[in-house]
Structures are given as structure tokens and as C-alpha cells.
């Protein structure tokens, strides 16, 4: 990952109320509700400073552009991420609910498929999807070691 990084404050700023979010997803009926939630969630991820939207921070394999920064503080792994597409940004926020501020063991043990299945979003992970969610998840799991 690139030499310039967001500062520690940016890594620690993200605070998603995971329980409330997950509950809303499980209760959501219909695609409209589910995708509205995803996009609202994406809006909660802070916008990445333009100067940090650099090629070296891009996750390859996404049709939309995704930037991802990682920092380990003590035993915890923190992430800053952004995308130019709303749904992907929301899906990444969901990933971060599961991985942000967690230990390497927790992140490695995280069952991506099961997580998205519970949320009613299993289809979003299939390799035929160009949203790149799988690539982002793989990157997160490969840096959090």
C-alpha cells in the first residue's frame, strides 16, 4: 500500500453501530429496502480525501474504483475505504462492520459467505459479479495477518 496514509484519527473515526445495522438488514423485505440500507450505510463511511485516491491504494478486480487503506494499531486492524459507486461503498461498509477494529484471528476466522447470506445478499459475492466485493474481502483478509 502507498506511502501516504490517512492519519490514525481517520482510521479510528469509523464507528458503525453494527447491531442496529445488521438488525435492519435481517428485517428488510424486498430489494428496495435492502439496497436503500446499503446505500445509507455507504454514506456513513467518511469520504476519502482526494489526495489519497491514488492508484497504489486501489483494489484490483473491481468494476468501480475502490480505495482501501489498512493500519494495525496494537492487535487491532483498522481500515479506511471509499468507492466511486454507492452500492459497493455500502457493501464495503458491511464488510468493515465485520472486520474493522478486529484482531487478525477474528478477521481470518470471519465467514464472508455466511455473513452475506444472513444479510440476504449472498448473490453479491458470486465471482460473476463485477462489484469487486470479493476482491475487497480478499484484500482485507490478506493484509490483516
Amino acid at each position: 500500500m502507498s506511502a501516504t496514509q490517512p492519519d490514525s484519527a481517520a482510521f479510528l473515526a469509523l464507528n458503525l453501530d453494527s447491531e442496529a445495522v445488521l438488525k435492519r438488514f435481517v428485517q428488510a423485505d424486498g430489494w428496495q429496502t435492502r439496497y436503500r440500507e446499503i446505500m445509507l450505510l455507504g454514506k456513513q463511511l467518511p469520504k476519502l480525501d482526494e489526495s489519497l485516491k491514488v492508484a497504489s491504494a486501489q483494489v484490483k478486480g473491481c468494476e468501480s474504483t475502490v480505495w482501501l487503506y489498512h493500519r494495525q494499531i496494537d492487535q487491532q486492524h483498522y481500515f479506511v475505504a471509499d468507492s466511486d459507486a454507492r452500492i459497493v461503498k455500502g457493501l464495503i461498509a458491511l464488510l468493515l462492520i465485520a472486520c474493522h477494529g478486529k484482531t487478525a484471528e477474528q478477521i481470518q476466522a470471519f465467514d464472508l459467505n455466511q455473513f452475506f447470506e444472513t444479510l440476504g445478499l449472498a448473490g453479491q459475492l458470486s465471482p460473476s459479479r463485477t462489484n469487486g466485493l470479493l476482491a475487497v474481502a480478499q484484500t482485507i483478509q490478506s493484509v490483516a495477518i
Binding site: W31, Y35, D84, R86, T130
Partner: protein, 404 residues
């Protein structure tokens, strides 16, 4: 009513996705297949399966006859002068690679290759590779502001005596139609070989090799109601006959010994290995299918559908259309202003609407339009006005969701 009967021949169209009936507007990526094509392939495996050109037995004679009969069909379909000018490939991509590889000996560091800015990557990358091998230079033919080829710039480039000119017949993204006949004539007058990529043309237009007069014309079966895994390289006999084969091995030889090998004559010399026999048979059925459509009426209806798509999108508002001319063919490219094409695609998919969103294997075109990607809706013989109405309705709800 007629259209209902026609649609009934395409079994894949009769399905629902999460309760929404499929609205298939991605024919430019690959078309759906009529029952006659599915049957022809299944029947081949069920009754006639044997390798071609090899065995003395009756089954092989039958499969060879059916396979070679498709060559005649393709010859008639594109009005080629000789059946040997029709080479079966795996698709457009392989066909262009064969031509580009085959010209290794004919180019050097002084050579220039002109390539359509709107070309599919399959009609760009093989030329770049050829340029790397030979030291030749690839120059992009620029587009004018209206998204069509800048004909003045083209003429100036042709004046540089290029060795090869490679262009679209129809753009897979924009649906724009190049004036191929005039462009080929100019290239030819300058001494260039010409390749026209007809992948997006053959399902919608009658193409005539004597009229277009290009040296090479290529297309894929799967975009013209036929199967994947088969495509056509048409080439003028003298040009094909001097191409270095891309693939070598069985079927394409005359004599093999460890002292040396001599190649077979056309078409075999460019068809190494066991071909995709069932797919070729399927392609034959697809050509029959197209030939049996009322040609003038079908073209008129398809042109109307493209115009209907363009005007409905325009009326929805908040949409940017790219190079939307009323003589476009098959496809309409657009973006929802301020929104990412991928978001639009995902939300349409939730409603059973299948379109393609992305760079469409045409990154230089995206660059020229100064966009990272776009949405493309494309039509086929089975597309109805209702499909387009449903698409517009779904897009309208996407718009409401994204811009609230």
C-alpha cells in the same frame, strides 16, 4: 401476436427472476438461442456425432457433410466468392488473432496499423502485439464529437500509407455504424489490408463481402442467435492463403515428417485440430433462422426499437446518451447523470432487467468519451416495446432511489 410466437422460440426468455419476468436487453453481449439451434446441436450429438475429415466410416462422412454444408451456408450468408474463404474459428477474438499473427512476415518497423478508437479490445490488442513483434506502429483513428469516426482525420491517416486498417462495422458500445464500404475503398486505394469486425453487425444487417470489399471480415456465432465457441474468419482467398497459421497440428497438414512438414490447402490449413463441430452445426441453424426472418420488416422493426429506446431514455431525463444517432444499430449507450453505471446495473438487475454496465471491452473508447464506463441496452429480434417500457420503468425507479 407474431412477436409472441417468435419469442416463444427462445426458451431462455420465458423465465422470472425474483418474481420479475426477465427483460433481456443484453443481446450485444450474447444473444439468446432459438429452439432450432438448440435442437440442431442436440441432434448432432444424439445422431451424427463423429469426428470430421478423418474416418472412413459412415458416421464421420455424415458429420463431415453437415459440417462442410455450414461452410457453404456461411459463404452464401456473407456472399463470399469461394467456400474456402470461410474459416471456422472459436470466435471473433481468435479470428482477429489469426489475421494479426498471420501477417508477422508482412510488416516491419516502417509499417503503420490504423485501428478504430471505438474498437473492441479484441480488435486492438492483437494489433498491438503484432506491432510489438514487428516494430510497426499502431495509430488510433480518432472519433469526432458526434462519436462517429472523424472521416477527415481518417483520410489524413490513410495518406500515410498504412499496411493495415482495422475497424468496426458496428460499435458494440454505441451502436454506431461505420461507412465501411467507403472506408475500405480509401484504405485499399492507399494499399492497406482491411479488417472489418462484424461481431455486432451480422445479427442485424445483411453483410455482403463483394460490396464491402474488405480483405478480412470476422464475427462470432453467439451474437447472432448461434452457440458460443464458434466464429467466422472470412478472408479474400489470396490473403488467407498467405497467412501464417496461428495454430498448427492435426487437420491442417498435407505431409508430416521429421524432415519437414507441408501444410494443407485452405480452408484446412487455418483450421488445426478437431473443430467445434456441434457449434458449427448450431451456427448453421442460426443462419437458417436469420435467413427465414422477413428481412426488410425485421430491420425496420429493430431500427424502430433502437429509436424508441433513445427517445424513451431522453424523455426520462437526467440521462446522457452517447453518440445516439437514428441510424444506429442494436445498442444504446447512456449514463444516469452523476451516478455510477454499476449502481444502475445492480439496481436494474434487482428488477429482472439485464443490461451491461462497464467499459464494454472498449477502454480507449471510454477514454475518448471521457467516462469510466457506461450502461448499454441492446436489442435482438425478440425484443418488444414492452421490454423497453419495462426497462424505462425500472430505470425510473432506480433514478428515484439513487437521486433522493
Amino acid at each position: 401476436m407474431q412477436l409472441l410466437a417468435l419469442r416463444a422460440q427462445f426458451p431462455a426468455l420465458e423465465q422470472t427472476l425474483d418474481g420479475y419476468p426477465l427483460c433481456y436487453l443484453d443481446t450485444a453481449a450474447t444473444s439468446q438461442k432459438p429452439q432450432s439451434v438448440l435442437d440442431a446441436m442436440a441432434d448432432f450429438y444424439r445422431y451424427d456425432n463423429a469426428n470430421v475429415h478423418r474416418a472412413a466410416h459412415q458416421l464421420s462422412a455424415r458429420s463431415t457433410a453437415k459440417y462442410e454444408a455450414v461452410r457453404d451456408k456461411v459463404q452464401a450468408f456473407v456472399n463470399a466468392q469461394r467456400r474456402e474463404e470461410i474459416i471456422f474459428t472459436h470466435g471473433t477474438t481468435e479470428a482477429i488473432n489469426q489475421v494479426a499473427w498471420g501477417l508477422n512476415q508482412k510488416l516491419d518497423s516502417n509499417s503503420v496499423i490504423l485501428v478504430d478508437t471505438a474498437a473492441h479490445h479484441a480488435n486492438i490488442v492483437p494489433w498491438q502485439q503484432l506491432a510489438q513483434r514487428t516494430g510497426a506502429k499502431v495509430i488510433a483513428i480518432p472519433l469526432a464529437d458526434d462519436g462517429r469516426i472523424d472521416q477527415q482525420a481518417y483520410q489524413a491517416l490513410v495518406a500515410q500509407s498504412p499496411s493495415i486498417v482495422a475497424i468496426n462495422h458496428v460499435s458494440n458500445v454505441l451502436g454506431t455504424v461505420n461507412p465501411v464500404q467507403a472506408m475500405v475503398a480509401q484504405a485499399k486505394a492507399a494499399g492497406a489490408l482491411t479488417l472489418v469486425d462484424g461481431a455486432q453487425a451480422v445479427a442485424h444487417k445483411r453483410v455482403d463481402m463483394q460490396e464491402i470489399d474488405c480483405d478480412f471480415y470476422v464475427f462470432s456465432g453467439h451474437k447472432m442467435y448461434g452457440p458460443t465457441g464458434v466464429g467466422i474468419l472470412y478472408g479474400r482467398y489470396q490473403q488467407l492463403d498467405t497467412l501464417t497459421p496461428l495454430l498448427t497440428g492435426g487437420e491442417m497438414i498435407e505431409q508430416v515428417s521429421f524432415d519437414g512438414t507441408s501444410f494443407n490447402t485452405l480452408p484446412n490449413r487455418l483450421e488445426a485440430g478437431t473443430p467445434a463441430i456441434a457449434e458449427v452445426i448450431g451456427l448453421g441453424a442460426a443462419i437458417d433462422y436469420i435467413a427465414n426472418l422477413p428481412q426488410a420488416a425485421t430491420q425496420k422493426r429493430e431500427a424502430e426499437l433502437v429509436n424508441y429506446l433513445q427517445t424513451q431514455l431522453q424523455q426520462l431525463g437526467g440521462i446522457t446518451l452517447y453518440a445516439a444517432h437514428n441510424d444506429n444499430c442494436g445498442a444504446v449507450a447512456f449514463n444516469l447523470n452523476g451516478e455510477h453505471h454499476q449502481d444502475v446495473g445492480i439496481l436494474l438487475d434487482q428488477q429482472g432487467v439485464a443490461i451491461r454496465c462497464g467499459h464494454h471491452c472498449a477502454m480507449p473508447l471510454m477514454h475518448s468519451l471521457q467516462i469510466s464506463g457506461c450502461c448499454r441496452a441492446s436489442i435482438g429480434v425478440y425484443t418488444s416495446h414492452e421490454d423497453i417500457d419495462r426497462f424505462i420503468e425500472a430505470l425510473s425507479s432506480v433514478k428515484a432511489m439513487l437521486i433522493d
